[in-house]
């Protein structure tokens, strides 16, 4: 066990300080130290996307990032996506399209889809599928997830 490091960062708009060992992943810090358990551990090596968070506006596998690397950065997790006014359009569309079954992959999909729509407000089906390829879902067969994301996109149309 090596000494803990003090880290100051922004999470969902709040300034957060925490102590962590250098070997702790950002995912571990979020889940075990900050009790932000919305990000899930599915594989712990960057192949399932269940732990996806946003760092400086980019989607990141929090299992492949160290907690200490969060120093001075701006982080968004699934817990910060809904606002007091209500659900984010992606969250709403996931519900309307029944785009989740067990739901364990859902936070990761929503975070990564959010990143997609912020960089490409009106993606094609192919673009959605390519962008979300780093997120595994074993329940839905992806069909309804892809439709939900397309529906949440700017045009609001399920353009298939």
């Amino acid at each position: 066990m090596s000494r803990k490091v003090h880290v100051q960062t922004q999470i969902n708009g709040d300034s957060i300080e925490f102590l962590c060992e250098p070997r702790q992943s950002m995912l571990e810090v979020l889940r075990d130290d900050l009790d932000l358990t919305g990000a899930k551990e599915g594989c712990n090596n960057g192949n399932c996307g269940a732990c996806t968070i946003m760092v400086e506006g980019r989607p990141v596998n929090s299992c492949c990032m160290l907690g200490v690397e969060a120093e001075g950065s701006n982080i968004e997790t699934i817990e910060g996506v809904a606002s007091p006014e209500g659900l984010h359009p992606l969250q709403q569309k996931f519900l309307e399209h029944a785009a989740l079954q067990c739901g364990i992959c859902t936070p990761g999909f929503i975070m990564n889809a959010k990143a997609l729509l912020e960089s490409n407000p009106n993606p094609t089906e192919k673009e959605v599928r390519f962008w979300l390829a780093g997120n595994l879902c074993r329940c839905t067969g992806y069909d309804k997830i892809v439709r939900a994301v397309l529906d949440a996109a700017d045009n609001g149309e399920d353009d298939l």
Partner: protein, 290 residues
């Protein structure tokens, strides 16, 4: 996960002196998408991680007659760069298929190179594009061609107190373009069974090869520059025959192994298929932009 110390270096000098002090037990941390997993799975022993992402020069990417890519520049900034898209399409091909987009947010092209995986996607593209590495150590800097950089699986030309600062890609000639593709069982999220990068320069009438560079991934202990296959094309007409000769020559230098991702015979076969597709891909790009 094994315990280690972490330092976010603020200057190139600090990074080098830390490496000089800790030797093999220190590793440079950039995107960390390979390194962090390797350390977690005890595939690499470290006492110290030196984070270089906070050093400005490692994050610069710009074109001034040649393309300069800082060692920490993440994949998404490489394929998002307009000069890269215009002049170095093979680099777009390769950096946009490394892991998923979440990996591309952090994984750097320098890290992909220093990780020295025989199957690394960016390396054949860099070799095809004639890229060279700028390496800095306590006694100054040196330049190494990318095809000379990897010395074995996970092994590089870096000595324990040196680090990769940036990659330099020369200005492509007129009537030239490049292409990278790999073969994987899925359509994404896989390690290349075989990867082929090619850059091609044609005569102004697009009828003759002026020069070409072909590089192969996942068919040897390191990514290979298929020099003979490349040279064969110079002066040859742009035809199926000459492309086929190059493909056979590429297959000749491939020395693949059999593992769970593919058999040796499958890889040899795929070198032929992918070399043809890479060359044709580059050629059609030249014709499109003409």
């Amino acid at each position: 996960m094994q315990a280690f110390e972490y330092v976010a270096a603020e200057s190139l000098g600090e990074a080098i002196s830390l490496l000089d002090k800790h030797g093999n037990q220190a590793r440079i941390l950039s995107g960390g998408t390979d390194l962090i997993v390797q350390v977690r799975e005890n595939r690499r022993q470290v006492d110290l991680l030196v984070d270089i992402k906070k050093i400005p020069e490692f994050n610069e990417i710009f074109y001034n007659g040649s393309l300069q890519i800082g060692a920490s520049v993440p994949c998404y900034q490489v394929y998002g760069n307009e000069d890269v898209q215009r002049l170095f399409p093979a680099l777009v091909d390769s950096t946009s298929i490394i892991g998923g987009v979440q990996i591309q947010s952090r994984a750097s092209i320098g890290g992909n190179l220093c990780n020295a995986s025989p199957a690394a996607d960016s390396i054949p593209a860099l070799i095809a594009l004639g890229a060279s590495c700028v390496i800095q150590g306590p006694n100054g800097d040196r330049k190494v061609a990318v095809e000379e950089f990897c010395t074995g699986p996970g092994q590089t030309a870096l000595s324990s107190n040196e680090l990769l600062v940036k990659l330099v890609l020369p200005k492509p000639a007129n009537n030239s373009s490049s292409f990278y593709l790999r073969f994987i069982p899925r359509n994404e999220m896989d390690i290349a069974v075989v990867g082929v990068g090619a850059s091609v320069e044609l005569s102004s009438d697009h009828k003759t090869f002026v020069s070409a560079r072909i590089a192969l991934g996942a068919v040897a202990a390191t990514p290979l520059f298929a020099e003979e296959a490349s040279n064969i094309l110079a002066g040859q007409p742009v035809s199926e025959e000459s492309i086929q000769t190059a493909c056979s020559a590429a297959q000749d230098v491939a020395r693949p192994i059999s593992d769970m991702r593919g058999s040796a015979e499958q890889r040899k076969h795929l070198v032929g298929v992918l070399t043809k597709r890479a060359l044709n891909g580059a050629i059609s790009r030249i014709k499109e932009t003409a």
